[in-house]
Symmetry: C2
Subunit: 305 residues, 2 copies
């Protein structure tokens, strides 16, 4: 039975913190996790790894940072400049160090002078994968299972909108027909996976939050072409649905940028299905309650918790 | 039997990449991991979680980013300014976006104008823990089990020196006597854990790479007071030893900065033992060879691989 959280009592975030499941850091969207919360997240991750293994996917795991040049190549800064985390670092000597410490001492911004490094935070789990596929694919293409921490700079009091969160993705890279079919199949497969955890996701066509005056047009076109769908579930409130999984058909966008070709020499197509691990875990706590010991027995069994 | 890697053939990094264990990103110190490599890393992590559970440690897991203010409070920028990763993000509107894209198009540095966010990359796994302990400890103090991705900006061709890597740490927070004793015990316990994986670590007193002209003095004092020891093992070459675990006694450094008091009202002391998960995994591949199927049966059994 769904747990009821009344908005006038306290927010869902307050309750997650009060139950020790999330640990506040003083920054919106950055939370530590308790052993219980982390265990649920890791078990969802492992179930997805099992699914990847059944499909004979190639496993790749990345740290939370990636090559800045790769992100430049993807065109991310055209579409989502407001979300990227750019990593900067101090490279001065003793004198600049003293200036930095003085600025910090006086409560000034000491970080503005730091030059950028070669690193940016990964914005989406599939991004580091594409450059590794440059060249000609095998006959039946590739299927990659990837998981990593992603970063999006959008501080929010909604616990579902974390700045740093894990995405577990499957990426299909092959000819257009194969990929388009795969994309369509994952509506059902993603739904079945989430239902196996006792969730009741709603499927909806969707679009990305493209930046700037041209953003609406891009979003409308993406939705019209049915390039993106999401699986949604209540997290922050029982009235509002949040995407817990997202499936994107990129057509030849990434393959053309990274030079990925099918065995017959055409530009490949790509599609990915991403599962937001923290969001799925939070949807489970919203649906089944804050005490995992009281979750439905079949859900506990499925998660082995 | 130890695998022999001849420097004149290729570097250890080359061999890890050739065997598909590490996936290059184009940036030194940032690598993807294969399923085999990641599985070894995760199994080491799980064994440490088991040890933490046996000690009834409180589990905390953090994302790779943390509150900038907390890092300011630790004094990290005094000692290691060159290593911190500061996260910056675009906050402009349409005009600034066009300027950014033009700069990128022309191959200029488009990131220098990005203001800093509230976030920095975590430099050491224990840092996000201290502010959560502010106040008075229970009678026998606290023991925390923490694991997260840490970042240090020190690009290097040595695969053991990654920019982004996982540290699994136990942190003891209590009165001075209890913590000093705990610190001493972990020389033996850390050694025993690593030996259970078939490694033969060397214990050595150590010091941190403090920045600037005063750094040597700080390092000498740290070593003289026996505040830091490391457990070392060959990774990049069979001649050179690399720290795979590090135990630090901070005395009252962190507790005084974050206001952590013992039950009897004194400033607490803290100590942590950190295990470098990628480094331990790499030490295993160096010691037992690049094919896990040929690792000693007792090591495979211990890791359940």
């Amino acid at each position: 039975m769904a747990q009821e959280f009344s908005a006038h009592e306290s927010t869902f975030l307050d309750q997650l913190i009060a139950h020790g499941l999330l640990i506040p850091s003083g920054v919106q969207g950055i939370y530590g996790k308790s052993g219980v919360m982390e265990n649920v997240i890791c078990r969802i991750d492992e179930l997805l790894t099992d699914i990847g293994r059944e499909m004979s996917a190639d496993i790749m795991r990345f740290p939370p940072v990636m090559n800045r040049v790769t992100v430049e190549q993807t065109g991310y800064m055209k579409s989502f400049p407001q979300l990227l985390g750019s990593v900067h670092s101090f490279t001065g000597k003793h004198r600049e160090h003293q200036q930095l410490l003085n600025a910090m001492e006086e409560g000034q911004d000491w970080s503005q002078s730091l030059p950028s490094t070669q690193d940016v935070l990964i914005p989406a789990a599939c991004y580091p994968v594409y450059p590794t596929l440059a060249g000609t694919l095998p006959e039946d293409g590739r299927l990659v299972d990837v998981c990593c921490f992603c970063f999006r700079h959008e501080p929010s009091p909604d616990p579902a909108r974390m700045q740093s969160f894990r995405q577990h993705e499957f990426i299909r890279i092959a000819d257009a027909h194969t990929v388009e079919q795969w994309h369509g199949e994952w509506i059902k497969r993603g739904d079945a996976f989430l239902r196996s955890l006792g969730l009741e996701p709603v499927v909806a066509p969707a679009n990305d939050p493209f930046f700037g005056p041209g953003g609406r047009l891009l979003a409308a076109s993406q939705q019209e072409q049915q390039l993106k769908f999401e699986l949604l579930s209540p997290i922050n409130s029982s009235e509002h649905l949040t995407a817990i999984s997202s499936c994107n058909y990129h057509q030849d966008h990434f393959a053309s940028k990274f030079g990925i070709y099918t065995a017959s020499g055409e530009i490949a197509h790509t599609s990915c299905i991403g599962f937001g691990l923290e969001r799925i875990a939070l949807a489970l706590f919203r649906k089944h309650g804050l005490d995992t010991a009281e979750w439905p027995v079949e859900v506990r069994k499925r998660l082995a918790i």
